[in-house]
């Protein structure tokens, strides 16, 4: 019926299509090797609006495009960057004075309004901004949220919030504004170092409180770099130097943020020399990395903190000696060496070394491996369970170390121990919220701002946002609150350290490991540093 021809045509058409596909793919994304720019690997950012950016990749790109009010020095203390002064008499009303003469990369001047409107947008509940909780301390935050009258599943829609702007933000003049908090907070200056507190130009808004369509893909900031073209989703984000930038000028002329779906693919490109910096080398490639990269493979402290929580709603974990025994039964050093190949370090405290006020070995003997003592404590405890269960989320690569931890507990205490994987973190949370007997709960924490309070409050405070295990100690809460209200940062740290000491005797969690950035870079670049939030320092990096 068709004869010979259509078949031949089909073959021909396929060949042509194939050829065309080969030819059209001409746009190679390699930047000129001789130029003074670098290629940094990231994964696809979820968002690039500052108040909606909560993950590392987005924060990395924003670090190039924006200039923060404050940054942090080597001791993790805040230092002024875009702000000329930040002061407060009572730690409640803060006056921020901006350095004059700064502009956005589109030429618009950076004024107090640039900050106020950006923060109002971020705090407004219906905008659903992921980092909106950073604005919680500012006066008027509650009025920007709306409460669904019949809960999430009910048919009624939530009413519009009472207000659209924070009453705590007041403009004094073009370069000065005040921030009033609902309660005094000593560390507020540090909080404002987070990316959620970047300003936005007028060009960002199509109407008051509405981000213009397409702004996120070609975002305009007040930083040393500006976007070249638009965000090429799943492919790359290119930025180039802003001419005549008023602040600290980076040593490189441009950055190509190359987007990878998979860190192993990113590592392959790094070893092949197609990528200049990988800020986090996956665990699968760690064994080969020192050999592949030599001294271009480096480590630096990160803020992540891994621990397991004791569900206090389960009777058998209410005896402190049971909790101490389990903590002593674990050989943390062996775990970090064997399983994490030195990419994490044993935790001996309840806050990360990335914050000012961290002290070594706060946890003392309770976090030191001592099988004999652990066994003695266990034997003496009347309510010690016969079996231990550790619940983790199976999608996070936790199985190996949870199983190892179980084996250590089995050996030290001669009891049964099983690791139970829930498919996702949300499943784990649901079970914990229902108070099902999940046993020990695997958890982790990455800081939002470098203050001890950012660990103590959310993780161990009564009703803390990540206190899923329900630890509650009035004395501890009071000390944390006193620290937050203290007159000076030094005084605050003293209070917070006293609070941490309580944790060391109460052992509400087993501290396990502090994270480290394990990063690598190509022969083309030098002076590569990765900060505690796993962002490459863009002001130091140099092309050789």
């Amino acid at each position: 019926m068709f004869g010979n021809r259509p078949w031949k045509m089909a073959v021909g058409a396929t060949a042509i299509a194939l050829l065309a596909s080969g030819c059209s793919g001409g746009g190679s994304d390699d930047t000129d090797a001789s130029s003074n720019s670098v290629i940094i690997g990231i994964s696809e950012p979820q968002h690039l609006i500052p108040s909606n950016t909560t993950e590392t990749s987005g924060a990395q790109v924003l670090a190039a495009l924006f200039y923060p009010l404050v940054d942090f020095d080597d001791q993790n203390k805040p230092e002024l960057v875009a702000a000329e002064s930040i002061s407060s008499d009572d730690n409640k009303v803060w006056t921020v004075k901006l350095k004059p003469g700064f502009t956005f990369s589109n030429g618009e001047a950076v004024t107090s309004d640039s900050y106020i409107q950006a923060w109002n947008y971020g705090a407004y509940g219906p905008n659903g901004q992921g980092a909106s909780y950073f604005f919680e301390r500012i006066e008027g935050y509650a009025d920007l949220q709306s409460v669904d009258p019949d809960g999430e599943d009910g048919p009624q829609k939530a009413p519009e919030p009472k207000a659209k702007s924070l009453t705590g933000l007041k403009k004094v003049d073009d370069t000065t504004f005040t921030v009033s908090l609902t309660a005094p907070f000593t560390g507020w200056e540090s909080v404002m170092g987070y990316s959620a507190f970047y300003p936005l130009p007028n060009a960002a808004f199509s109407a008051p409180g509405v981000i213009a369509d397409g702004f996120e893909d070609a975002i305009v900031g007040n930083g040393p770099f500006k976007m070249k073209g638009t965000w090429q989703h799943d492919s790359q984000i290119e930025v180039e130097k802003v001419d005549g930038f008023k602040g600290t000028v980076p040593k490189i002329d441009g950055i190509n943020f190359k987007i990878y779906q998979d860190q192993k693919a990113e590592y392959a490109d790094l070893t092949a020399g197609n990528l200049d910096v990988q800020s986090s080398i996956p665990i699968e490639s760690l064994a080969a990395a020192p050999g592949d990269l030599g001294d271009r493979f480096q480590k630096s402290p990160s803020s992540s903190f891994q621990f397991v929580g004791f569900p206090t709603f389960q009777k058998e974990f209410q005896d402190v000696n049971v909790r101490r025994a389990l903590s002593m039964a674990i050989n943390r050093q062996e775990m970090t060496d064997q399983i994490f190949l030195g990419s994490q370090s044993p935790a001996t405290g309840f806050v990360s070394p990335a914050v000012a006020g961290y002290r070594d070995n706060v946890c003392g003997e309770n976090c030191t491996y001592n099988a004999a003592e652990a066994k003695a404590l266990w034997a003496a405890a009347p309510t010690a369970p016969k079996k231990i269960q550790i619940t983790y989320n199976a999608d996070g690569g936790h199985k190996a170390w949870v199983d190892a931890m179980c084996n250590q507990i089995k050996q030290s205490l001669a009891i049964e121990c099983t690791g139970v994987g829930e498919p996702k973190f949300a499943d784990l949370l649901t079970k914990v919220e229902k108070k099902s007997p999940v046993g020990l709960i695997r958890l982790g924490w990455v800081m939002d701002y470098p203050l001890m309070e950012n660990y103590l409050g959310p993780l161990y405070g009564t009703g803390g946002s990540s206190n899923y295990y329900g630890y509650s100690n009035k004395k501890f809460d009071d000390l944390v609150a006193e620290g937050s209200k203290a007159a000076t940062p030094e005084e605050a740290i003293t209070k917070w350290q006293a609070a941490e000491d309580i944790l060391a005797t109460d052992m509400p969690v087993i501290p396990l490991r502090f994270g480290q950035n394990v990063y690598g870079f190509s022969e083309k670049v030098s002076n590569v540093k990765v900060d505690t939030q796993t962002r490459v320092d863009l002001y130091n990096i140099e092309v050789k």
Binding site: G22, D29, P126, E152, H233, D234, K258, K264, A265, K424
Partner: protein
Amino acid sequence: MFRYIVRRLLQMVLTFFGATFFVYALMFANQDDPIQALAGERPITESVRQALTERYHLDDPFLLQYWYYMKGMLTGDFGTSLTGRKISDMMEVAWPVTIKLGLIAIVIAAAVAVTSGVIAGIRRGSIFDNVTLVITLIILSLPIVVLAPLAQLIFGIKLGWFPPTAGATPTFWALLLPALVLGSLVIATELRVTRSSVAENLRSDYVRTARAKGLSRKRVIGVHVLRNSLIPVVTLIGVDIGGLMSGAIVTERIFNVPGVGFNLFRGIRTEDGPLVVGFVSILVIVFLVVNLLVDLLYAALDPRIRYE
């Protein structure tokens, strides 16, 4: 012929709705807490959760969600993913690169498989036949999760013949290695089917007749044997497109190709219903059209087959 095509097209409409309904139902059943899945382990404030739940209709019952989705899709609007990106924009990036990858893989696989299969079929028991037998056995026994990183390590990093990753706008050269890996998924079976089919047809009556007529060996094999031997192979290639798409989920991740397979993986991981169903809907259409084309190709290959 015309009536046949119309009948098939009508069947396709039914299959399409059935398939998308199933996929949507499965995604809905799997959907636990997509907002938490997106945020990772970070706590989410109540008002953010509330705003996102309303924006993406996450609190509506299943049939209503499906209705919203279908209504949008039939008017050409695939909706937005849970990260706020338009799914049609994501498809514009993802489909071209996957189609390129798939086409290169299919053409390479078919060309190698049919050529070697015919040679092996003609020279049964020869060294060539035995060598291909061993090679296909090795390829068949290597799963793609092993083969892809191995190929990347050897040819991409150690030897440096190919770029180790391809990216979103790859050159032909950068796509060749992932395409070879992807094609090797199907090459072994296609080769063996061709071989046995050619071997069988060589013994058939019409070949003896053709030889007896004094036709040249080239014509006997090139026209008479090959054409009849291709029918099972063509069927296989049609089915293989499915295999290639599922293989693409692994290959695209390893070679950093932000295509269809990658988007499906991302959508499933973050419980992003609209994203998965959008891509699967197009995949279903691709399957249906390819299978229709394969069926029509039978008629071109074998004059005895007629569609009424």
